[in-house]
Structures are given as C-alpha cells and as structure tokens.
C-alpha cells in the first residue's frame, strides 16, 4: 500500500486552506472542520477523497475521530511514517 508523503504542518495547513477555500490563518491545529471551518458533508467527503488520492486512507467509520485539523494531521503523519490506522 502506498503511504502518503510526509508533510510539515505548514504544508498540510496550506493544502487544507486551498482545498477548503479558507484563509490559512484559520487552519489552526485546534480548528474544528465542521464548526470553525464551516465544512459541510460534501466538502468533508471531497477532502477525504483528495487525501485518499495522496495515499492517506481514512476508513469511513474512523472519520469522526478526526474532528480537528490537528487530529487530521496526526493521523496523516502516523500513516506517512507507517504507524497509522
């Protein structure tokens, strides 16, 4: 299975800001996707699709564990380094 390419938090942050069309300053580790970044169900699924294309696999029954940007980054890095999900 292909692993995602490791990213610095700044790069991950920028990627999310681009995908979600929000200001990068809003994409803090503590920011909640749904409540703070206004991510609705379609955008959340689009985000998962994009991450999947980068090799980041998120089983649907685990999605709710990644509610904040920081949680998503931690999961991403764990997979990138071979310790994730």
């Amino acid at each position: 299975m292909t692993r995602p390419e490791p990213l610095s938090f700044a790069a991950f942050q920028q990627m999310l800001a681009d995908l979600l069309h929000v200001d990068v300053a809003q994409v803090t580790p503590e920011a909640y996707f749904v409540r703070d970044l206004g991510v609705d169900s379609m955008r959340l699924l689009d985000l998962l699709l994009h991450l999947e294309k980068r090799g980041f696999q998120v089983p649907l029954d685990s999605v709710w564990r990644m509610q904040t940007v920081g949680e998503a980054y931690d999961c991403y890095q764990q997979q990138a380094t071979g310790h994730g999900l």
Binding site: Y32, V34, L49, L60, D61, V63, W64
Partner: protein, 351 residues
C-alpha cells in the same frame, strides 16, 4: 471549545425541528419535503427502538446539532430471516452539516456491533444526501439500489394540492381529465368497511404474514409494532374490510405533513395493505374508506409509492395517477452472502 460528541439521543423530540428545519428549507428550495421531525411522527418511528444505541445524536455541548436513527427490524427474503435496520431521520443543523458524515460513520460502527445484515434507506434526489451517496459513498461501499419507486396519487382536495405543489394549468387539466380529483365512492359490497379497532390486531397480523416468502422483501411484524403501525393517534390509521365477522382486508396509511415555502399540508401515504381475494368492488370499497379516512384527518391527497407487493389495478380504476417524482430505496449491505439489488416487491413503509 468542545468536540462534537456522538452519543445516544437524549429523547428530547422538541429539539428536532429546531435542529432540522432551517437546513431543509434551504436545501429543498421550492420543492416539497416530508416532515419526519414532527415530534408525533418521530415518536412513532422511535417507538420501535428497543435500545438507545439505535438513535445517535451529534451534540455540541448540550445542544443537538444532528441526528440519525436506525430502526431495527426483522425481514424475510427468499425464505430466510435477516436482521435489518431502516436508517432514517438523518438531519443536521445548517451550521453543522458536516456532522452528518460523522453520524454515518458512527452508524456503520454500531450496525456492525448489532450484527445487522443490511441497512435500508431512502434517497430523494432533491436532498443533499443523494449527492453525498452518489458521488462518494456508492463508489466505495457496498450500497445497492433496491428499487426506484414512483408515486401514484389521488387528490382529495384539488385546490389545496394545486397550491401545495405549485401545479401548472396543464397539470391541473390532466388531473381533472383523468378524474384523479373525484371522491372515491363505495359500490355495494357484501361486507363493511370501518376503522380499525384493537380487536382486529391478530387477524391483521395473520394477513401480513401471508406475504412472507413470496419473492419479496417483507418486514416481519410483532404484535406490538404492528399495533403501533395500525393506529397511532395523529400519525397512522387503518381501515378494514370485514365480511361475516372476519377481517378480510385492510389499508394502512401514515398522515405525513409535506412542507414547502408555500405552506404545510397533510398527505396520506399508503403503507401496508392486504386485499388478496377481494373482488374489484370490495377493493374499491376499501379505497373509498381510505379516501374518507384521509379526508377526515385533513389530508389533501393520497400517495402510494410503488412497492409492488400487491396488484395495483384497483388503484388505477379508482383514478390514482402517476406523479412525476421518484425516490430510491437503497441498502447498505453488510452480509457478504446477501444481495438486495433489484428487488421488485417491498412490503415495508417508506420513510
């Protein structure tokens, strides 16, 4: 700030409209939506739930921001009994729409814990969920189209249907031409049509069980769930055909409120019926009873989704006409040895 927490629904039905209505009005625009969040309807649906884990709320602190219900049911299919759930009531507050994905995610986990063979659910093309399933979930999960269902309708109060559905002049003309607005009257029959009483329960339970094992997905009722189904004040009602002291047929319906920016109107949705062995006149008499019972409850029209488990000829003869709308019954199938794809006959209510 706290996380959105997924937990068992606390049972506060009054919180449902506040959570869902703004979203529904926004998503449906000029179209009409069925109000499953009306507290009486939600209470009726959730009455079958034996375990709080089957209804999941997403909470921001103490505030309900999204909800999904899994109604556990037994089904018969091809001579086997299966554990199924009907997934319904999925809604989210407009500022928390992404929470719907969290709920679906948690639903999957809990359905696996329950050992469900499948979850059935309705998708309506006007709803945002339809796009979510089509674009993302269907290509990645074992989600099967069970049946596309088209509607047959008969207007009880045509003037109100015209307003409610914003009908064009030519649609009204077609309804009048086809007689789909005329009162359904009862011909002379040997038996009587009357409202259901508790004493009819066991006879109707016996009739419903005759549908089992007829190459059809059949909901298996127990006496308690069927009793609620047949009569819940302000939500469901049933008319029966009695001959020689025995119940020979029945029609059951739900009073749903359909909502749009043009207002809120009651419609009778035909759910379960049994009329095998009745003559054409006896079926017509039952339909006349349905028409009368619908009118008494303030319904402006009667609607049937083509579940196809019974011969619909009597509906056509009573001037039910096709309505240009469809919904899809889908199944998320967990049992690897089972498929529900393309089942044509469904003995189940549509919510």
């Amino acid at each position: 700030m706290s996380k959105i927490e997924l937990r068992d629904f606390d049972g506060d039905l009054k919180a449902l409209p506040a959570m869902a209505y703004d979203t529904l009005f926004e998503e449906y625009g000029a179209a009409t939506w069925i109000d499953l969040n009306r507290p009486e309807v939600a209470q009726h649906l959730l009455a079958d739930v034996p375990d709080p884990r089957f209804v999941i709320g997403a909470y921001d602190g103490a505030r309900l921001v999204a909800l999904i219900a899994n109604l556990p049911r037994l089904y018969r299919l091809n001579g086997q009994t299966y554990k199924g759930v009907t997934t319904t009531l999925l809604a989210a507050h407009k500022d928390y729409r992404g929470a719907a994905v969290y709920l679906i995610s948690e639903c999957l986990r809990r359905n696996a814990e329950f050992g469900a063979d499948f979850a059935v659910f309705i998708l309506d093309k006007y709803n945002r969920s339809w796009h979510m399933f089509e674009q993302y979930l269907k290509p990645r999960h074992r989600i099967e189209l069970v049946k596309t269902m088209h509607a047959l309708v008969h207007a009880v109060d045509l003037a109100k249907v015209v307003t409610s559905q914003n009908l064009k002049w030519y649609e009204v003309a077609a309804i009048k031409l086809l007689g789909a607005h005329r009162p359904i009257t009862a011909p002379a029959v040997p038996g009587t049509v009357r409202d259901y009483t508790d004493a009819d329960l066991s006879a109707i339970l016996t009739l419903t069980r005759r549908y089992s094992d007829q190459n059809c997905l059949v909901r298996v009722f127990n006496a308690d769930s069927l009793a609620r189904r047949l009569h819940t004040e302000n939500v469901t009602a049933t008319v029966v055909y009695e001959l020689g002291g025995a119940v020979e047929g029945f029609i059951n319906f739900t009073v749903h409120e359909l909502v749009s920016k043009r207002g809120r109107q009651r419609w009778a949705w035909l759910d379960f019926l049994y009329w095998e062995g009745l003559s054409g006149h006896e079926k017509q008499a039952l339909l006349a009873g349905l028409w009368q019972a619908s009118r008494e409850r303030g319904c402006i029209a009667i609607m049937e989704w083509n579940k196809n488990y019974y011969a619909p000829g009597a509906l056509c003869r009573a001037h039910f006409i096709p309505y240009p709308h469809f919904i899809e019954l889908n199944a998320w199938v967990f049992n690897p040895h089972l498929s529900l794809r393309g089942i044509d006959k469904i003995f189940e209510q549509i919510t």
